[in-house]
Symmetry: C2
DNA sequence: AAGAATTGCGCAATAC
DNA sequence: GGTATTGCGCAATTCT
Protein backbone atom coordinates (compact mmCIF):
# COMPACT_ATOMS: atom_id res chain seq x y z
CA UNK A 1 0.00 0.00 0.00
CA UNK A 2 2.93 2.28 0.46
CA UNK A 3 4.13 2.68 -3.00
CA UNK A 4 6.41 5.60 -2.71
CA UNK A 5 8.64 4.06 -5.26
CA UNK A 6 9.81 7.04 -7.11
CA UNK A 7 9.95 4.96 -10.22
CA UNK A 8 13.12 4.41 -12.05
CA UNK A 9 14.54 6.78 -14.49
CA UNK A 10 16.97 4.76 -16.34
CA UNK A 11 19.14 6.59 -18.70
CA UNK A 12 20.88 4.89 -21.50
CA UNK A 13 24.25 6.42 -21.63
CA UNK A 14 26.53 4.29 -23.63
CA UNK A 15 26.67 6.48 -26.59
CA UNK A 16 27.35 3.75 -29.08
CA UNK A 17 27.37 0.59 -27.09
CA UNK A 18 24.65 1.96 -25.09
CA UNK A 19 22.25 -0.72 -25.81
CA UNK A 20 21.66 -2.81 -22.87
CA UNK A 21 19.93 -5.96 -23.43
CA UNK A 22 17.55 -6.91 -20.99
CA UNK A 23 14.93 -9.11 -21.77
CA UNK A 24 16.58 -12.39 -22.35
CA UNK A 25 13.25 -13.95 -21.85
CA UNK A 26 13.00 -17.65 -21.29
CA UNK A 27 10.35 -20.18 -21.81
CA UNK A 28 8.06 -20.41 -18.90
CA UNK A 29 5.56 -22.98 -19.86
CA UNK A 30 5.65 -24.79 -16.62
CA UNK A 31 3.47 -22.82 -14.34
CA UNK A 32 3.85 -25.43 -11.72
CA UNK A 33 2.22 -24.32 -8.62
CA UNK A 34 3.79 -26.98 -6.59
CA UNK A 35 7.33 -26.36 -7.54
CA UNK A 36 9.45 -24.72 -4.91
CA UNK A 37 10.50 -21.99 -7.27
CA UNK A 38 13.82 -23.48 -8.04
CA UNK A 39 16.23 -21.49 -10.05
CA UNK A 40 15.46 -21.96 -13.68
CA UNK A 41 18.23 -24.33 -14.43
CA UNK A 42 19.58 -24.10 -17.89
CA UNK A 43 16.96 -25.45 -20.22
CA UNK A 44 14.72 -26.27 -17.37
CA UNK A 45 11.66 -24.25 -16.62
CA UNK A 46 10.90 -23.50 -20.19
CA UNK A 47 12.51 -25.34 -22.92
CA UNK A 48 15.11 -23.56 -24.89
CA UNK A 49 16.99 -21.24 -22.70
CA UNK A 50 17.47 -17.60 -22.88
CA UNK A 51 20.56 -15.80 -23.70
CA UNK A 52 21.52 -12.69 -24.60
CA UNK A 53 22.18 -9.68 -23.43
CA UNK A 54 24.80 -8.03 -21.82
CA UNK A 55 23.94 -4.62 -21.58
CA UNK A 56 26.21 -1.84 -21.06
CA UNK A 57 23.95 -0.85 -18.32
CA UNK A 58 21.01 1.12 -17.42
CA UNK A 59 21.57 3.64 -14.79
CA UNK A 60 18.85 5.12 -12.81
CA UNK A 61 18.68 8.80 -12.62
CA UNK A 62 17.31 9.25 -9.23
CA UNK A 63 18.61 11.34 -6.42
CA UNK A 64 18.90 8.40 -4.12
CA UNK A 65 20.02 5.68 -6.40
CA UNK A 66 21.35 6.50 -9.76
CA UNK A 67 23.74 3.86 -10.90
CA UNK A 68 26.35 4.17 -13.52
CA UNK A 69 27.51 1.27 -15.46
CA UNK A 70 31.03 0.36 -15.41
CA UNK A 71 30.82 -2.51 -17.69
CA UNK A 72 34.25 -3.94 -17.23
CA UNK A 73 35.71 -6.11 -19.95
CA UNK A 74 34.87 -9.09 -17.85
CA UNK A 75 32.85 -10.55 -20.61
CA UNK A 76 33.21 -13.96 -19.15
CA UNK A 77 29.54 -14.52 -18.89
CA UNK A 78 29.04 -17.52 -16.76
CA UNK A 79 25.34 -17.31 -16.65
CA UNK A 80 22.98 -18.83 -19.10
CA UNK A 81 21.87 -15.33 -19.73
CA UNK A 82 24.01 -13.21 -21.94
CA UNK A 83 25.68 -16.28 -23.20
CA UNK A 84 27.20 -14.79 -26.25
CA UNK A 85 27.52 -11.40 -27.74
CA UNK A 86 28.83 -8.31 -26.14
CA UNK A 87 32.04 -8.65 -27.94
CA UNK A 88 32.63 -5.00 -28.20
CA UNK A 89 30.99 -2.17 -26.54
CA UNK A 90 33.06 -0.54 -23.98
CA UNK A 91 32.52 2.82 -25.45
CA UNK A 92 31.59 3.56 -21.96
CA UNK A 93 35.25 3.88 -21.22
CA UNK A 94 35.49 6.97 -23.30
CA UNK A 95 31.94 7.93 -23.91
CA UNK A 96 30.36 7.88 -20.57
CA UNK A 97 32.86 10.13 -18.91
CA UNK A 98 31.32 12.81 -21.01
CA UNK A 99 27.69 11.93 -21.21
CA UNK A 100 27.24 10.03 -18.07
CA UNK A 101 25.27 12.21 -15.79
CA UNK A 102 25.39 11.09 -12.19
CA UNK A 103 28.88 9.73 -12.31
CA UNK A 104 28.83 9.45 -8.59
CA UNK A 105 27.04 6.32 -7.68
CA UNK A 106 27.51 2.68 -7.12
CA UNK A 107 28.54 0.79 -10.17
CA UNK A 108 26.96 -2.50 -10.90
CA UNK A 109 28.74 -4.97 -13.04
CA UNK A 110 26.04 -6.77 -14.87
CA UNK A 111 28.37 -9.51 -15.86
CA UNK A 112 29.38 -10.40 -12.38
CA UNK A 113 28.34 -13.70 -10.98
CA UNK A 114 27.17 -11.93 -7.90
CA UNK A 115 24.86 -9.72 -9.91
CA UNK A 116 23.44 -12.66 -11.78
CA UNK A 117 22.91 -14.48 -8.54
CA UNK A 118 21.04 -11.62 -7.06
CA UNK A 119 18.95 -11.24 -10.18
CA UNK A 120 18.15 -14.89 -10.30
CA UNK A 121 17.19 -14.97 -6.68
CA UNK A 122 14.97 -12.00 -7.18
CA UNK A 123 13.40 -13.55 -10.23
CA UNK A 124 12.55 -16.57 -8.17
CA UNK A 125 11.11 -14.39 -5.46
CA UNK A 126 9.10 -12.49 -8.00
CA UNK A 127 7.63 -15.63 -9.47
CA UNK A 128 6.79 -16.87 -6.01
CA UNK A 129 5.24 -13.60 -4.99
CA UNK A 130 3.13 -13.42 -8.11
CA UNK A 131 1.93 -16.94 -7.73
CA UNK A 132 0.95 -16.10 -4.23
CA UNK A 133 -0.90 -13.02 -5.39
CA UNK A 134 -2.68 -15.01 -8.05
CA UNK A 135 -3.78 -17.58 -5.52
CA UNK A 136 -4.92 -14.88 -3.17
CA UNK A 137 -7.04 -13.30 -5.84
CA UNK A 138 -8.57 -16.62 -6.74
CA UNK A 139 -9.38 -17.34 -3.13
CA UNK A 140 -10.99 -13.97 -2.74
CA UNK A 141 -13.12 -14.58 -5.79
CA UNK A 142 -14.17 -17.96 -4.51
CA UNK A 143 -14.95 -16.54 -1.14
CA UNK A 144 -17.07 -13.82 -2.66
CA UNK A 145 -18.86 -16.45 -4.70
CA UNK A 146 -19.53 -18.61 -1.69
CA UNK A 147 -20.65 -15.70 0.41
CA UNK A 148 -23.00 -14.67 -2.33
CA UNK A 149 -24.53 -18.10 -2.42
CA UNK A 150 -24.80 -18.37 1.31
CA UNK A 151 -26.34 -14.95 1.32
CA UNK A 152 -28.98 -16.15 -1.05
CA UNK A 153 -29.80 -19.04 1.19
CA UNK A 154 -29.99 -16.84 4.23
CA UNK A 155 -32.31 -14.46 2.44
CA UNK A 156 -34.53 -17.35 1.52
CA UNK A 157 -34.50 -18.62 5.06
CA UNK A 158 -35.46 -15.21 6.34
CA UNK A 159 -38.31 -15.14 3.88
CA UNK A 160 -39.60 -18.43 5.18
CA UNK A 161 -39.30 -17.45 8.79
CA UNK A 162 -41.00 -14.16 8.16
CA UNK A 163 -43.88 -15.85 6.50
CA UNK A 164 -44.25 -18.33 9.32
CA UNK A 165 -44.19 -15.50 11.75
CA UNK A 166 -46.97 -13.76 9.95
CA UNK A 167 -49.00 -16.90 9.96
CA UNK A 168 -48.48 -17.47 13.63
CA UNK A 169 -49.29 -13.92 14.47
CA UNK A 170 -52.40 -14.14 12.42
CA UNK A 171 -53.46 -17.27 14.18
CA UNK A 172 -52.79 -15.72 17.52
CA UNK A 173 -54.80 -12.66 16.73
CA UNK A 174 -57.65 -14.89 15.68
CA UNK A 175 -57.37 -16.76 18.93
CA UNK A 176 -57.28 -13.61 20.87
CA UNK A 177 -60.48 -12.53 19.24
CA UNK A 178 -62.08 -15.79 20.12
CA UNK A 179 -60.81 -15.55 23.62
CA UNK A 180 -62.16 -12.04 23.90
CA UNK A 181 -65.55 -13.20 22.90
CA UNK A 182 -65.59 -15.87 25.58
CA UNK A 183 -63.86 -14.06 28.33
CA UNK A 184 -61.60 -10.97 28.20
CA UNK A 185 -58.44 -11.90 30.02
CA UNK A 186 -54.81 -12.96 29.69
CA UNK A 187 -53.34 -10.42 27.28
CA UNK A 188 -49.77 -11.62 27.30
CA UNK A 189 -49.22 -11.94 23.62
CA UNK A 190 -48.89 -8.27 22.94
CA UNK A 191 -46.46 -7.93 25.78
CA UNK A 192 -44.34 -10.84 24.89
CA UNK A 193 -43.75 -9.94 21.32
CA UNK B 1 -6.52 -19.35 -18.69
CA UNK B 2 -5.07 -20.46 -21.94
CA UNK B 3 -1.52 -19.51 -21.57
CA UNK B 4 0.16 -21.50 -24.22
CA UNK B 5 2.67 -18.77 -24.64
CA UNK B 6 5.76 -20.73 -25.41
CA UNK B 7 7.85 -18.07 -23.82
CA UNK B 8 10.32 -16.16 -25.80
CA UNK B 9 13.75 -17.31 -26.55
CA UNK B 10 15.51 -14.25 -27.52
CA UNK B 11 18.84 -14.63 -29.09
CA UNK B 12 21.25 -11.83 -29.29
CA UNK B 13 22.84 -12.07 -32.64
CA UNK B 14 24.43 -8.84 -33.52
CA UNK B 15 27.91 -9.92 -32.90
CA UNK B 16 29.21 -6.51 -32.13
CA UNK B 17 26.31 -4.17 -32.17
CA UNK B 18 24.17 -6.71 -30.59
CA UNK B 19 23.46 -4.98 -27.41
CA UNK B 20 19.91 -3.99 -27.18
CA UNK B 21 18.89 -1.64 -24.55
CA UNK B 22 15.64 -2.20 -23.14
CA UNK B 23 14.63 -0.82 -20.01
CA UNK B 24 14.63 2.88 -20.56
CA UNK B 25 12.41 3.15 -17.62
CA UNK B 26 10.86 6.43 -16.78
CA UNK B 27 9.63 8.00 -13.65
CA UNK B 28 6.19 6.89 -12.87
CA UNK B 29 5.37 8.71 -9.76
CA UNK B 30 1.97 9.69 -10.87
CA UNK B 31 -0.09 6.61 -10.52
CA UNK B 32 -3.06 8.62 -11.58
CA UNK B 33 -5.99 6.42 -11.83
CA UNK B 34 -8.02 9.01 -13.54
CA UNK B 35 -5.73 9.64 -16.43
CA UNK B 36 -6.86 8.27 -19.74
CA UNK B 37 -3.63 6.46 -20.29
CA UNK B 38 -2.21 9.04 -22.53
CA UNK B 39 1.12 8.34 -24.02
CA UNK B 40 3.72 9.29 -21.53
CA UNK B 41 4.43 12.65 -22.97
CA UNK B 42 7.94 13.79 -22.59
CA UNK B 43 8.46 14.71 -18.99
CA UNK B 44 4.91 13.96 -18.17
CA UNK B 45 3.92 10.87 -16.28
CA UNK B 46 7.08 10.75 -14.27
CA UNK B 47 9.32 13.64 -14.14
CA UNK B 48 12.48 13.39 -16.08
CA UNK B 49 11.93 11.45 -19.20
CA UNK B 50 13.44 8.32 -20.42
CA UNK B 51 15.84 7.99 -23.18
CA UNK B 52 18.02 5.70 -24.44
CA UNK B 53 18.30 2.87 -26.17
CA UNK B 54 18.31 1.72 -29.44
CA UNK B 55 19.35 -1.73 -29.53
CA UNK B 56 20.39 -3.58 -32.48
CA UNK B 57 17.70 -6.02 -31.74
CA UNK B 58 16.76 -9.18 -30.01
CA UNK B 59 15.32 -11.86 -32.16
CA UNK B 60 13.23 -14.64 -30.88
CA UNK B 61 14.26 -18.09 -31.76
CA UNK B 62 11.00 -19.85 -31.83
CA UNK B 63 9.57 -22.09 -34.50
CA UNK B 64 6.62 -19.89 -35.03
CA UNK B 65 8.07 -16.51 -34.53
CA UNK B 66 11.77 -16.06 -34.60
CA UNK B 67 12.64 -12.61 -35.67
CA UNK B 68 15.90 -11.40 -37.06
CA UNK B 69 16.94 -7.91 -36.71
CA UNK B 70 17.81 -5.91 -39.65
CA UNK B 71 18.72 -2.79 -37.92
CA UNK B 72 18.81 -0.38 -40.79
CA UNK B 73 20.73 2.85 -40.46
CA UNK B 74 17.47 4.62 -39.84
CA UNK B 75 18.66 5.93 -36.57
CA UNK B 76 16.44 8.91 -36.76
CA UNK B 77 14.75 8.49 -33.47
CA UNK B 78 11.67 10.58 -33.33
CA UNK B 79 10.30 9.36 -30.07
CA UNK B 80 10.79 10.94 -26.75
CA UNK B 81 12.39 7.71 -25.80
CA UNK B 82 15.90 7.27 -26.87
CA UNK B 83 16.07 10.98 -27.14
CA UNK B 84 19.80 11.08 -27.42
CA UNK B 85 22.39 8.50 -28.08
CA UNK B 86 22.30 5.98 -30.83
CA UNK B 87 24.46 8.04 -33.00
CA UNK B 88 26.25 5.17 -34.54
CA UNK B 89 25.62 1.48 -34.41
CA UNK B 90 24.89 -0.14 -37.65
CA UNK B 91 27.28 -2.98 -37.24
CA UNK B 92 24.35 -5.08 -38.17
CA UNK B 93 24.81 -4.10 -41.77
CA UNK B 94 27.96 -6.13 -42.03
CA UNK B 95 27.93 -8.28 -39.00
CA UNK B 96 24.61 -9.96 -38.98
CA UNK B 97 24.83 -11.39 -42.45
CA UNK B 98 27.36 -13.77 -41.05
CA UNK B 99 26.20 -14.63 -37.60
CA UNK B 100 22.54 -14.19 -37.89
CA UNK B 101 21.05 -17.60 -37.41
CA UNK B 102 17.43 -17.85 -38.42
CA UNK B 103 17.79 -15.51 -41.27
CA UNK B 104 14.37 -16.52 -42.37
CA UNK B 105 11.97 -14.57 -40.32
CA UNK B 106 10.44 -11.24 -39.98
CA UNK B 107 12.87 -8.56 -39.15
CA UNK B 108 12.04 -6.01 -36.58
CA UNK B 109 13.87 -2.81 -36.56
CA UNK B 110 13.84 -1.63 -33.03
CA UNK B 111 14.82 1.80 -34.07
CA UNK B 112 11.97 2.25 -36.41
CA UNK B 113 9.35 4.75 -35.57
CA UNK B 114 6.77 2.15 -36.30
CA UNK B 115 8.25 -0.23 -33.77
CA UNK B 116 8.39 2.43 -31.13
CA UNK B 117 4.85 3.41 -31.87
CA UNK B 118 3.66 -0.13 -31.47
CA UNK B 119 5.61 -0.56 -28.29
CA UNK B 120 4.31 2.65 -26.86
CA UNK B 121 0.75 1.78 -27.71
CA UNK B 122 1.18 -1.58 -26.11
CA UNK B 123 2.71 -0.05 -23.04
CA UNK B 124 -0.31 2.16 -22.73
CA UNK B 125 -2.59 -0.82 -23.17
CA UNK B 126 -0.65 -2.73 -20.57
CA UNK B 127 -0.92 0.02 -18.04
CA UNK B 128 -4.61 0.31 -18.71
CA UNK B 129 -5.13 -3.41 -18.44
CA UNK B 130 -3.25 -3.62 -15.19
CA UNK B 131 -5.12 -0.74 -13.71
CA UNK B 132 -8.29 -2.47 -14.66
CA UNK B 133 -7.13 -5.69 -13.08
CA UNK B 134 -6.16 -3.86 -9.93
CA UNK B 135 -9.56 -2.22 -9.72
CA UNK B 136 -11.25 -5.52 -10.34
CA UNK B 137 -9.36 -7.14 -7.52
CA UNK B 138 -10.17 -4.29 -5.20
CA UNK B 139 -13.82 -4.49 -6.09
CA UNK B 140 -13.86 -8.20 -5.47
CA UNK B 141 -12.26 -7.69 -2.09
CA UNK B 142 -14.76 -5.02 -1.21
CA UNK B 143 -17.60 -7.17 -2.38
CA UNK B 144 -16.40 -10.07 -0.29
CA UNK B 145 -16.12 -7.76 2.66
CA UNK B 146 -19.60 -6.39 2.18
CA UNK B 147 -21.07 -9.80 1.63
CA UNK B 148 -19.41 -10.98 4.78
CA UNK B 149 -20.93 -8.14 6.73
CA UNK B 150 -24.33 -8.58 5.20
CA UNK B 151 -24.07 -12.24 5.97
CA UNK B 152 -23.46 -11.43 9.57
CA UNK B 153 -26.55 -9.28 9.67
CA UNK B 154 -28.65 -11.89 8.00
CA UNK B 155 -27.48 -14.49 10.48
CA UNK B 156 -28.40 -12.19 13.29
CA UNK B 157 -31.76 -11.54 11.75
CA UNK B 158 -32.38 -15.23 11.42
CA UNK B 159 -31.49 -15.66 15.05
CA UNK B 160 -34.03 -13.06 16.04
CA UNK B 161 -36.77 -14.49 13.88
CA UNK B 162 -36.09 -17.97 15.15
CA UNK B 163 -36.35 -16.83 18.68
CA UNK B 164 -39.57 -14.99 18.05
CA UNK B 165 -40.91 -18.06 16.35
CA UNK B 166 -40.10 -20.15 19.36
CA UNK B 167 -41.81 -17.68 21.62
CA UNK B 168 -44.91 -17.56 19.50
CA UNK B 169 -45.06 -21.30 19.25
CA UNK B 170 -44.67 -21.57 22.94
CA UNK B 171 -47.47 -19.13 23.50
CA UNK B 172 -49.66 -20.97 21.08
CA UNK B 173 -49.05 -24.28 22.74
CA UNK B 174 -49.95 -22.71 26.04
CA UNK B 175 -53.12 -21.38 24.57
CA UNK B 176 -53.95 -24.66 23.08
CA UNK B 177 -53.60 -26.29 26.43
CA UNK B 178 -55.88 -23.75 27.94
CA UNK B 179 -58.31 -24.19 25.14
CA UNK B 180 -58.14 -27.94 25.58
CA UNK B 181 -59.01 -27.59 29.21
CA UNK B 182 -62.05 -25.52 28.40
CA UNK B 183 -63.18 -27.27 25.29
CA UNK B 184 -61.18 -29.57 22.93
CA UNK B 185 -61.70 -28.15 19.45
CA UNK B 186 -60.20 -26.13 16.64
CA UNK B 187 -56.82 -27.71 16.05
CA UNK B 188 -55.69 -25.59 13.17
CA UNK B 189 -52.35 -24.47 14.42
CA UNK B 190 -50.56 -27.68 13.77
CA UNK B 191 -51.96 -27.82 10.32
CA UNK B 192 -51.16 -24.29 9.41
CA UNK B 193 -47.53 -24.38 10.35
C1' DA C 1 23.08 -5.28 7.14
C1' DA C 2 21.36 -8.49 4.08
C1' DG C 3 18.07 -11.33 1.87
C1' DA C 4 13.19 -12.04 0.71
C1' DA C 5 8.89 -9.99 -0.75
C1' DT C 6 6.46 -6.42 -3.39
C1' DT C 7 5.48 -3.61 -7.02
C1' DG C 8 5.64 -0.60 -11.36
C1' DC C 9 7.39 -1.01 -15.78
C1' DG C 10 8.42 -2.35 -20.51
C1' DC C 11 8.89 -6.30 -23.71
C1' DA C 12 7.11 -9.95 -26.45
C1' DA C 13 3.85 -13.61 -27.32
C1' DT C 14 -0.64 -14.34 -27.81
C1' DA C 15 -5.52 -13.94 -27.05
C1' DC C 16 -9.38 -11.45 -28.89
C1' DG D 1 -4.63 -4.23 -38.01
C1' DG D 2 -5.18 -3.11 -33.44
C1' DT D 3 -6.16 -3.54 -28.45
C1' DA D 4 -6.21 -6.56 -24.29
C1' DT D 5 -3.88 -10.04 -21.46
C1' DT D 6 -0.32 -12.34 -19.39
C1' DG D 7 4.35 -14.30 -18.05
C1' DC D 8 8.77 -12.61 -17.52
C1' DG D 9 12.90 -10.18 -15.97
C1' DC D 10 14.67 -5.76 -14.12
C1' DA D 11 15.25 -2.39 -10.59
C1' DA D 12 13.59 0.25 -6.79
C1' DT D 13 11.55 -0.26 -2.49
C1' DT D 14 9.78 -2.25 1.47
C1' DC D 15 9.61 -5.82 4.82
C1' DT D 16 11.90 -8.98 8.00
Amino acid sequence: MSDSRVSSVIQEWAYPGQAHPHHVSTNHLAQMDMMPYSQPQGPARGGSDEKGAEQVMGLSYLPYNSSCLINPPSVGSTNRHQSHAHTQQDFSSFLLPTLRAPVNKRSINKNSTEYRLRRERNNVAVRKSRDKARRRVLLTQQRAQELQEENQKLQTRIGQLTQEMDTLKHILSQRRMHAAEEGPAESDIQNQI
